[in-house]
């Protein structure tokens, strides 16, 4: 069972991402903070994480590192509003699968997620 965990502190943004994925037929769960996210990660069905980078408390990048240590191999896609070079570079270094810059369309999200899913299945 493939389930996607969406983490964003902004409810409106989170809900839009959720609906985009739902409309693509994915099974989704959400978290509004890294703490809640770690609870959701107990669920073994979660096979992909999509997280905002800029959040109060633990940033998306720190969360990425944490996820990599808790569940190595679990792919993480980061979402950012300000695609600065530093953010992108660090995200790649820390092992993010991809970084998507907001605002993105449903088609863009679909392309990235679909590509990752295909890669996961192929493994």
């Amino acid at each position: 069972m493939s389930r996607i965990l969406v983490i964003d502190d902004e409810e409106l943004v989170r809900n839009v991402i959720l609906e985009m994925l739902e409309r693509e037929g994915y099974d989704v769960v959400d978290a509004d903070s890294p703490e809640q996210a770690f609870v959701r990660l107990e669920d073994p069905a979660v096979s992909l994480v999509i997280s905002d980078i800029i959040m109060p408390g633990l940033s998306g990048l720190d969360l990425l590192t944490e996820v990599r240590s808790r569940r190595p191999g679990l792919p993480v896609i980061l979402v950012t509003g300000a695609g600065t070079d530093e953010n992108l570079a660090e995200a790649v270094v820390r092992g993010a699968y991809a970084v998507i810059v907001k605002p993105f369309s449903r088609a863009e999200l679909r392309a990235v997620v679909a590509a990752e899913r295909a890669r996961s299945i192929a493994r």
């Binding site: 943004v13 950012t80 300000a82 907001k102 369309s105």
Partner: protein
């Protein structure tokens, strides 16, 4: 005067006889009357009363029908009948002129007897006119050798020689009494005048000192101001006088001394330490006292205490000067008529490089003018209102500075132009500042702002675009709702592009600089444009030099500039045209010229083409950042980007970059 001309022909002068016969009873009575008259004259209250006594006495003594006293002016030009008695006595003064007997007597200084045939026209005795008199005697009365009065007597009937002689003698005696009356009167007047003068002098607030060879007089105010007691002679040594700058004043330099010496009025403001030790500032005016012959026989000095006024004026003057110098703008005060510089402040000297001493007194054309035509006389004529000129000044060191000059005319209390005030601002600082703002400050500020707000804008923008996308997906295609939602989406995407462009703009160049061939970069970019976005109506002509044109820089950033320039050229020619792209070497510079055949850039738009967010193509997706970013990249490469345009002919954009090593192909 009537009748006097007729009688003039019959005048004959009778010499005065001094020997008069012995006294009989009648003569004693005569003498008695004279003594009474003398007593009466002496006791008379004034000259009029004395003259009345004298004319009455004469009338009675001589048995005359009429007597009168004529008083003459100093030059014996004009006489006035001062008193008269007897028939036809005149009331009120009557002028006596040449041709009358009294006049003849006065002029010759000798008694005059006239006899004439009386005109008998039946007039009653009470209205006796001069022409009715048969015999008349006029006796001059001399004061200090000059005839001052004439004493006249007249009879209806003819008088014998003895009677006439007696009359002359009597009138002379009475004349002596007249002199007494006159002198008494003069004395009375003099002491009254003197008392009045003294009272006036003592009561005036100004100090008055009168200097004559006989001595000095000072009024109460003078004694108070100079600190001299009432019984002390007001000698100048008692007061130590100084000029306003403190130089001791010589005794021959006081206004009274100067007026006496030169015979001309003298004015001086001076400092004194008064006799009682008080410091004062006095305004003193000395005037000469002149004798009748014009020689100076003394001097009068008037002075008043202006200490408070002077100190106040001094403080104000100093305050004004300091304020004038401290003004944060260059100032020049100019004579509105001659345009001579009256004064300038410190900043003016700094701005022009000329000292105040050098500037003051100069008249146009001033040495700092670069464009005298900017100061046309008509514009400078003293009038109402304020005139503002933007021009340039040449400093004394030759440097030319842009300035803004504002001038206005100050009027005096009578409304006449009193001074022209010119305020001059140095625009070079402002210009530099403006340029910095535009070229670096503004861009840097925008860059910082962009990175900061991009996240804040992108989150809600993502929500809007995501939700709109859902709605579009749910809406029936072709409906108004679908159409409008698509419009919202497109608008949202425009915002996305702007924010993206801002972020690109803010991003520091991450790409490493290498030595690249500018010709190759241009070629590659044009290829890209040809393959992707070039309109089929547009032809691109390329011109390259034989040498490789090498520059040190970022290939992608240089491509970005060219893409921008090509895109602009293409958008400038929606109906098609030609773009000529050339690469040339000019000394140490490589120049890429992108020339279009579009309509050119309007003059009002040209100054703004490099301004961030300035665009005329918002509807075509223009962000207004293309040229701003291109200029920023060019600057980062040590180069420049300039625009030339000819309305109706097209626009040329020049990218200039410092040339790197040259290698032969």
């Amino acid at each position: 005067m009537q009748g006097s001309m007729d009688s003039a022909a019959r005048i004959h002068v009778v010499p005065l006889q001094d020997d008069v016969g012995g006294l009989d009873t009648a003569e004693r009575a005569h003498e008695r009357q004279l003594i009474d008259a003398a007593v009466a004259v002496n006791g008379a209250a004034d000259l009029d009363e004395a003259f009345a006594v004298l004319t009455e006495t004469a009338l009675s003594l001589l048995g005359a029908d009429r007597t009168s006293v004529v008083v003459w002016d100093a030059n014996v030009q004009r006489g006035v009948v001062h008193a008269s008695a007897g028939a036809g006595a005149e009331h009120g003064p009557r002028e006596v002129g040449p041709g009358e007997e009294a006049y003849q007597a006065a002029v010759t200084g000798r008694p005059l007897v006239t006899r004439s045939t009386p005109v008998n026209d039946g007039e009653p005795a009470s209205t006796l006119a001069l022409s009715h008199l048969c015999c008349r005697v006029s006796v001059p009365v001399l004061f200090e050798g000059l005839p001052r009065m004439t004493f006249d007597a007249g009879w209806r009937g003819d008088q014998d020689e003895a009677k006439v002689q007696c009359a002359i003698w009597t009138l002379q005696t009475l004349g002596t009494l007249t002199r007494i009356a006159y002198r008494t009167e003069q004395e009375r007047n003099r002491s009254r005048d003197r008392a009045q003068l003294d009272a006036v002098l003592e009561s005036v607030g100004d100090g008055v000192i009168v200097l004559t060879p006989q001595g000095r007089l000072a009024n109460a105010a003078a004694r108070r101001l100079l600190g001299i007691g009432p019984d002390v002679e007001p000698r100048p040594e008692l007061v130590s006088g100084r000029t306003l700058d403190g130089r001791p004043l010589g005794l021959d330099e006081t206004p009274s001394a100067v007026a006496w010496r030169t015979g001309e009025p003298a004015h001086l403001r001076l400092r004194i330490t008064s006799g009682d030790g008080v410091e004062r500032v006095l305004d003193a005016s000395g005037s000469p006292i002149k004798a009748d012959d014009g020689s100076t026989i003394g001097a009068v000095t008037l002075f008043r205490d202006v200490t408070a006024e002077h100190n106040e004026g001094l403080v104000l003057e100093r305050f004004r000067e300091q304020l004038f110098d401290a003004m944060p703008t260059a100032l020049a005060i100019v004579d509105p008529q001659t345009r001579a510089i009256l004064t300038v402040n410190r900043l003016f000297c700094e701005l022009t490089g000329y000292d105040a001493d050098e500037a003051i007194g100069l008249t146009p054309p001033y040495p700092w003018w670069v464009r005298p035509e900017d100061f046309a006389d008509a514009d400078w004529a003293p009038g109402e209102g304020t005139v503002r000129i933007e021009t340039r000044f040449r400093r004394r060191d030759g440097r030319v500075v842009p300035i803004e000059l504002t001038r206005f005319v100050v009027h005096d209390s009578a409304g006449r132009p009193a001074a022209t005030v010119a305020l001059i601002s140095d625009l070079s600082e402002r210009r530099r500042f403006e340029q910095q703002i535009v070229q670096s400050g503004k861009l840097a500020a925008i860059g910082e702002l962009a990175a900061g707000v991009a996240h804040e804008i992108n989150n809600p923008l993502f929500a809007i675009l995501g939700l709109v996308e859902f709605l579009i997906a749910d809406a029936e295609p072709g409906t108004r709702t679908h159409e409008r939602l698509s419009l919202i989406e497109r608008t949202g995407l425009e915002i996305k592009d702007i924010v993206r462009a801002l972020l690109d703009f803010a991003r520091e160049p991450s790409e490493e600089r290498t030595v690249v061939s500018l010709s190759k970069v241009v070629q590659q970019t044009i290829d890209l444009v040809r393959r992707t976005s070039l309109s089929k109506d547009i032809e691109i002509v390329e011109r390259y030099p034989r040498e490789q044109c090498l520059v040190e820089g970022s290939r992608n950033q240089l491509k970005q500039i060219l893409l921008n320039l090509l895109s602009n050229a293409q958008q400038a020619m929606p109906t098609g045209g030609t773009v000529v792209v050339s690469v040339e070497q000019e000394d140490d510079w490589l120049v890429v010229k992108v020339e279009d055949t579009g309509p050119g850039i309007p003059a009002e738009v040209l100054p703004h083409v490099f301004d961030p967010f300035f665009t005329t193509k918002r509807e075509l997706g223009g962000t207004g950042l293309g040229l701003a970013i291109s200029l920023s990249i060019a600057n980062r490469h040590g180069g420049d980007l300039t625009v030339q345009t000819q309305p109706g002919r097209g626009t040329s954009v020049y990218l200039r970059l410092p040339a790197g090593e040259r290698t032969e192909r």
